[in-house]
Amino acid sequence: MTDKSGSSCLTSTVGVACLFLLLANTATSQTKTAEWLDELNRMEREADQARDAFWCGHYEEAERQFASLTGSVHPSVILYLNECAMCKFALGDYPAAEERLRQVDSLLNTYYSDEREKRAMSAFGAEAEKVYRGDPYEQAATYLLLALVLIDRGDYDNALAACKSGILADSDAAENLFDSDIALLHALEAKCYQLRGEEEPFRSRRDAAAKSVRLTSASVREDFSRRQDLLELLKMSRKERRQVGEERKDDEIRDEIQNLSDKLDRNIAAIDAMELLGPLYSGEFNVLVLVPSGRCVDKTRTGADAEMVVFRQHVIPCEGPELYLDVQPLDSVRCLPVGVDLEFQAMTRGGRRMDAILRGKAASRATTRGVGHAITEVGSNVGGFVGLGVALVGGAVQGAAGSMTAEADTRCWQTLPREFHTYALRLAPGNHEVIGAHYLYFQKRETFQRRFTLTDEHDMATVVVPPPPYELYFRHDELRLSKRDRTGIEDASTLLIPPPTGLNEIIRVSVADGNTKQEAIAPDPKRFMRSIQKVLAEKGLACALVSHEEVIASRRELADQHKHALQCHFVEIVREGDKKAGSYRAKLTFALIDAKTGEVVASHTTEGVSADVSSGPSTALYSCIESATQAFLRHTDIRTLSSVPAK
């Protein structure tokens, strides 16, 4: 009896101990995972600052910040190496960019197969679940950029390998459902063959480029995507179809596929891909200039429970840079009609838009405040491509806000442009130079320069131009200006006032006293501009407001019609003291620009003060703007400088 109870007691004790150890182990593992997520989120916050610096044109600062995140091997290192490489491209340091991209290639190879990934995971531990490898479009972009650098320094064998890796990353290698549709990768692959003197593969690869152009042409995208959707529908079970609200029978779907296919065949046949590719098809080029345009999508979460990962589009239009090749303007007419549409690549798989079936059912497509949302694959990019089936049945990931949780991941390559415009040129051997500058409204920014030498007929060079200063523009809905705002715009001497730069939709008020309650402002660009206009009008200076869209679309025409523009950059707003005896101080930089040359005629940073604390920070901001404008006018004799007549 005693023995029995002793043994039972021992068994219970061991059982309890085991249970305790099991629970403790689970708890420790969960704690560890949470710690790693915190660490990865911390790094993402730092990377966000670097991204802001990058899109404001501060490439060295951005590179330094990204580089500090790539010092050790961690689950996000591939992402930051990619972003670091983009900074190096913007700085014109191609060898350093190559080094970063080669590191990415090496790391991607580590996780190439499940087995290798498992081995890597054993070294990483719990955090390995969050290893970022990038979506197919991101991997393809890595190899595209690497191929460009390698071609530039004459390493055509490795460039060919990079092109093939990019094509493989963008294809469905597992089920061979589709081939990469990035035409430039195929065209570069063809060019590498041509440079190696292999005519047969050159011809076959350029045909692949032509096929990609046809399939991704704007005139067939929609129908192609719809056909892919319908093909996927046919594969789904009845239950899965019900889940996406699909009631049609197989025969009906097949009929629609047939109709679509006929229409597609006709439309595809009408596309002259060879004409669109131009020198990229004939291979008659030895210089490739890639000009970034806009900002590529990033990821965010949406849905009733913030459970779905979606792409967020950056749709604010930006002006392309002014480019010169050997002192002659590089006319945009010479830009090829086909470029690399990374946004399209991000939101499609094999030409199929990821939100097509989910639209209006499992997910909504909303457009708010100048950004649009489009549903992406539901889930994270951990481990690469997530099966279409998962997205189709709306397998929502239970996630929470923040950059990343154990289940949902919004990390993505955020320093990619929305599109690369392409110039394929044929130049004579010798020394050449591409110089250019971006414009921030009327102001010409720092000039960039890229010199290269073509040693002989078979030598090749590539140039990647820095991106536009996207983040300096205020992301806002289209600014609609009234007749009053534009009074006198037809007069050549009227000063033009474009929207302010350096603002966000919500800006924080810096509080001098640490104990004071924090405040934030939602600045109104129109009210901002009107405050400046009001002061100028009081001083008798004729001025008219111009919207972002207007300047981006017709800067040259406006510059031909007007002599000067007055631009304002928001620096900061600080609150001092309390409600009884306090004040707000806003710092603004004004720049009087010669509209034709883009040169700064006069620039001065002034401070506007408002002692009206009780009315709130928004009222104070506009009061500060007026006071800062007055200070600028006191400091700068704008009338003499711009010869603006009195009203």
Binding site: G399, R480, A520, A522, G616
Partner: protein, 203 residues
């Protein structure tokens, strides 16, 4: 979750509607051609964010909610009534500009009263969370014609509730994003309703 959110929105609507004699009224068709100038201002708006839960009167729930509210205030990083007011005004102006020219003063005066803004959390009586945090903005939009007779100068009114999920553990970024979406949704809903009598729209 969806059920409790809908329930909450319904409750808010009932509260708003129940607080007085209310019947929504769009801007009459005569005001669209020619369209007079309009001024948009914000009337009342709570200075600080409000935290609400499903509640159902539970004491434990109220205590837990109070603790959660403090954490949420930290997550908002300075967003105050003034920020919300200015944002809603801008979004409304941008949306109504399709139909009216908006200036500082005008024959039509639109006043947006924001009755509540902040978070809602679906919970059980005991305060146990049953869904994600929601950011909400609720208020009334009133349009007055200053040239009309005093008794008949209130030409349009509507009550709007906009809500956006901010996840289980809201951060400053998520709250800011939700505020922007809510302000946008509030403005879109209000303008869609107010302008539904315009000529050319099927009623």
């Amino acid at each position: 979750m969806a059920k409790s959110s809908s329930l909450f929105l319904l409750c808010v609507n009932i509260c708003l509607v129940g607080s007085g004699c209310y019947s929504p009224k769009p801007i009459p068709a005569t005001y669209f051609d020619p369209a007079p100038e309009m001024a948009v201002t914000i009337g009342k708006c709570p200075e600080a964010a409000q935290m609400r839960d499903s509640g159902q009167g539970g004491l434990i729930g109220a205590m837990v909610t109070a603790g959660r509210a403090n954490k949420m205030k930290e997550a908002m990083e300075g967003i105050i009534g003034d920020t919300v007011k200015e944002l809603v005004r801008q979004k409304f102006e941008a949306a109504i500009e399709d139909y009216f020219d908006v200036y500082e003063a005008g024959r039509l005066q639109t006043v947006i009263d924001i009755e509540q803004w902040g978070w809602y959390l679906p919970t059980t009586v005991a305060g146990i969370k049953t869904g994600s945090y929601q950011f909400t903005v609720a208020g009334t939009v009133t349009v007055t014609d200053i040239e009309a007779k005093k008794q008949k100068n209130k030409i349009a009114t509507c009550k709007i509730v906009a809500s956006e999920s901010i996840g289980d553990k809201p951060t400053a970024d998520a709250s800011r994003e939700a505020l922007l979406k809510c302000a946008d949704a509030f403005a879109t809903q209000a303008v869609t309703f107010l302008t539904k009598e315009r000529p050319g729209v099927a009623h």
